[in-house]
Symmetry: C2
Subunit: 223 residues, 2 copies
């Protein structure tokens, strides 16, 4: 074994500008939370890679909860409206935000979309963030809970590689449980990795396909 060389990139001059964006976003996120609470809105931010199952889990939640709540959905993607179209089939108002080159939603985008959904009388908003495990971590949106979704088919290292997003989250969903036997993935190890990244995180194992774990998720969201 040849020991690998490890280079840490010096972020240099533009770190200051980036810090400014992050701080400004945090301020708007706090204001968002005040608006949500003023209107008795419960807001949940779902983060995770493309294909991890964020939309499928939101679909399951909408199916289970649409008799009890007025639900709205905000879906972020760089360029398509596939997710909002999937959700809109359930008869709930959905807003697609196309972020272009930005790889995360920010608090201002969510603030604008929330105003539109409030006009529809919603009292719950599920936000589906842009699909990746990196960028959304630094940009809270003001949601009451941040949820990170990973699937057992993403391999055994994804949690250890992206601990930041697990630290930023209140809840971790390990999805596609039904695929674990075929992947040879040990779910217990994934649960341990999540707790090692963030000892306060609550971990729920689901299969959006079979519906397993969805009731437990609803309890964890206090809905």
């Amino acid at each position: 074994m040849v020991k690998p060389v490890i280079i840490k990139v010096d972020e240099g001059l533009d770190i200051e500008l980036e810090e400014d964006f992050i701080k400004a976003n945090e301020r708007i996120a706090l204001l968002n939370r005040k608006i949500f609470d003023k209107y008795n809105l419960k807001v949940f931010d779902f983060m995770g890679s493309i294909g991890s199952g964020k939309t499928s889990i939101i679909e399951r939640l909408v199916e289970a909860l649409k008799g009890k709540y007025k639900i709205g959905v905000i879906a972020g993607d760089t360029s398509t409206s596939i997710d909002a179209e999937r959700i809109s089939k359930y008869g709930v108002p959905s807003i697609q935000i196309n972020t272009g080159r930005e790889c995360h939603l920010d608090a201002l985008m969510v603030r604008r979309a929330t105003k539109k959904l409030l006009k529809k009388g919603v009292n719950i908003i599920f936000i589906e963030n842009v699909g990746n495990l990196i960028c959304p971590a630094d940009f809270p949106l003001g949601a009451h809970k941040r949820v990170v979704v990973v699937s057992v088919t993403e391999g055994e290292y994804m949690i250890r590689k992206k601990q930041d997003i697990f630290r930023a989250a209140d809840l971790a969903i390990i999805n596609k449980k039904d695929m674990a036997p075929y992947m040879g993935v040990n779910i217990e190890n994934l649960v341990k990795d999540a707790i090692e990244a963030n000892s306060k995180i609550k971990v729920i194992v689901t299969s959006a396909k079979t519906g397993e774990g969805i009731n437990e998720l609803i309890s964890a969201l206090e809905l």
Copy 2:
């Protein structure tokens, strides 16, 4: 069905700054290519989500080619050195670049790492970009071929959602073929989606687990 509202984000004032970064990167990428050619180095940039199988495919290529070439590997990740450590077990020099908040490698990072690998006498470099399907698209590194890796376990929409990265690539790998029957995914549709995004792209279906498609990949890389 309620028609979703679609909002396109106005990128606003900072687009100019971003364009500057992108243009500067492109210039350095062109210079990188000149250096690669001067030293008879063949360089390949592998992009894709975390868990798509980039490292496993590079491991297979290293196994198959290390008798024929002097191989070096550059692995990008925000914070860990898991990938370079996996590769270094094969006895080839590997460099891990930790990008911090940046969700892609850039041409300057690769230029610095290449200098270190040239001192080890390598004549092929496999670059593993930071794991996501968004950010690397805009940042060419000077590689002779850009390869995007997706896996059948990422769901049926990932190519349609991230056409930009398929447009930026010369070669698409659809990996984890062995999982397709369990996922109920139609690989033919994924191949069609890739070609619809980029009519010039070459698509190869692989299973890094079983080794299927690796010889075809080696031919496509002209190695």
